[in-house]
């Protein structure tokens, strides 16, 4: 077995940090260690947290982690921050809001920059989550800024997805329209002591009703039935879709955190019933396989296309001599692009 993998399974935190770097940089040795760790994965509950900048995600993660630690469970946090498109550098500042968690050996915090491609980040984040899972943490929390497609995709790797909002952040509905509301299992309205709370809650409820019309009517049906015959309907409720819940929190003083943990546990229980978790995992593996295939194929294809052929094609497209789709067909057919060589 790979040395790093063995050390990680024995609880060596330096080895854990090292392997995270290796997979992030797609360096040699990472795949070997990942393969050795893979049989040890599948035990952690993976929570994705996303939402607009300033909603208080890091503070919420900190408060949530403290509460979960009080139950004796261990937590690993993967905090993803955007890379500057200009310099390729990044400021990873999530630890500022997580200082209360330091000195706790049951917590491990790792910051990750989004770096280049969507595919690359997705791969690195998935691998990082697997490593943290194999290292034995009860919860793995992945925090991303919900400002772009890649971040939303990362949150979707989780089993339970929290979307965090805050009142008074401008146009409430705008902030959540960009496709992040649909992925929420739990909607957290943080900073609930702020003015504008009612508006935010109302906007979220409206969006939920628009987003889940079928599930809503289904639930009110169950609810009505439950009034008369509780016993048989309990099982049919189990089959029901999960209806996203709205939880209000004030992460800075811990208000609402117990309710949030209750909601997370309820979602966990929902997943465990009737094979929901298996279905979810199946879907996620399908997506991952396709992502990895796409990345691998593209890499292999680009290896076989010379930079010169590519730039000739770019020029031809720019001069309107060839539409882009024909250029792609040509490359896929394995045809070399030759006019300049004749």
């Amino acid at each position: 077995m790979s040395g790093l993998a063995t050390q990680i399974l024995q609880g060596d935190r330096r080895a854990l940090a090292r392997l995270l770097t290796i997979v992030e940089n797609a360096r040699e040795g990472g795949d070997h260690a990942l393969a050795a760790l893979f049989p040890h994965t599948g035990h952690a509950h993976i929570i994705g947290i996303t939402g607009p900048p300033g909603a208080g995600k890091s503070t919420l993660v900190s408060a949530l982690t403290k509460a979960v630690r009080a139950q004796g469970k261990t937590v690993a946090i993967l905090a993803v921050d955007p890379t500057s498109p200009f310099s390729g550098g990044a400021i990873l500042g999530d630890r500022i809001r997580m200082r209360d968690l330091s000195g706790d050996s049951g917590v491990f915090i790792r910051s990750m920059a989004t770096r280049g491609s969507l595919g690359g980040l997705a791969r690195a984040a998935r691998d990082a989550v697997r490593i943290l899972d194999a290292a034995g943490f009860d919860y793995v929390v992945v925090e991303t800024v919900g400002a772009g497609q890649s971040e939303v995709e990362i949150a979707r790797m989780a089993q339970t997805v929290l979307v965090v909002e805050a009142p008074g952040m401008g146009d409430d509905v705008q902030a959540i329209k960009a496709g992040i509301l649909e992925i929420a299992d739990i909607l957290v309205v943080n900073k609930a002591d702020r003015p504008g709370l009612d508006n935010t809650i109302r906007a979220l409820k409206l969006m939920l009703e628009l987003g889940h019309p079928a599930s809503r009517s289904q639930v009110s049906g169950h609810h009505g039935a439950m009034m008369s015959t509780p016993a048989p309907t309990m099982t049919s409720v189990d089959h029901a879709l999960w209806i996203p819940v709205i939880v209000q929190t004030v992460a800075t003083d811990g208000r609402g955190i117990d309710e949030l943990i209750g909601a997370i546990e309820a979602h966990q229980a929902h997943l465990r019933r009737n094979g929901h978790l298996r279905e979810l995992e199946q879907r996620q593996i399908e997506i991952e396989l396709q992502d990895r295939l796409r990345e691998a194929l593209l890499t292999r294809l680009l290896e076989n296309i010379s930079a010169q052929d590519l730039s000739t094609l770019v020029e031809r497209i720019q001069q309107r001599h060839m539409p882009p789709h024909e250029a792609v067909d040509m490359l896929l057919a394995g045809l070399r692009f030759e006019p300049s060589e004749e």
Binding site: A17, T21, S87, G88, A90, I91, R110
Partner: protein
């Protein structure tokens, strides 16, 4: 290969002074130089800095100290880092450091000392050289 990956730097402010403008300027400058900067914020204990450096697997730790407590803080941080197995992670310091203290700080293993007005490009270049030398020593 190693030259392509972004360098990871931790910028920490140990001790009790609350002036983090310098630390933030450096963090931003290093980001603009293409580095990934883990910024830990104010009032970090030596243990917090060592723990963050370990979990984040940074190449270099930069400390901003304006309180005058560098002769107490730096050896303590080096010691805690060493006992966490981070002997190979170099320390650099920025802030108000009197010339008389520089030799002793260097003797404690501080690799670079930068005062107010230090050129940020020079600091970025210094970090690149440190990391390149480290990668050459231990190709892993």
């Amino acid at each position: 290969m190693s030259s392509e990956r972004p360098i990871r730097v931790l910028i920490g402010k140990p001790g009790l002074d609350g002036h983090d403008r310098g630390a933030k300027v450096i963090a931003r400058a290093l980001r603009d130089a293409g580095m990934e900067v883990v910024y830990t914020g104010l009032r970090q204990t030596p243990e917090m800095i060592a723990e963050a450096a370990l979990q984040e697997d940074v190449d270099v730790v930069g400390l901003s100290i304006l309180s005058g407590a560098h002769m107490a803080l730096v050896p303590r941080i080096r010691e805690v880092m060493n006992s966490s197995g981070l002997e190979d992670v170099p320390l650099i310091i920025g802030g108000i450091i009197p010339d008389v203290d520089k030799p002793s700080l260097e003797a404690m293993g501080v690799r670079g000392i930068f005062g107010p007005g230090a050129n940020t490009e020079e600091i970025a270049g210094f970090i690149r050289t440190l990391v390149a030398a480290k990668d050459k020593d231990a190709p892993a």
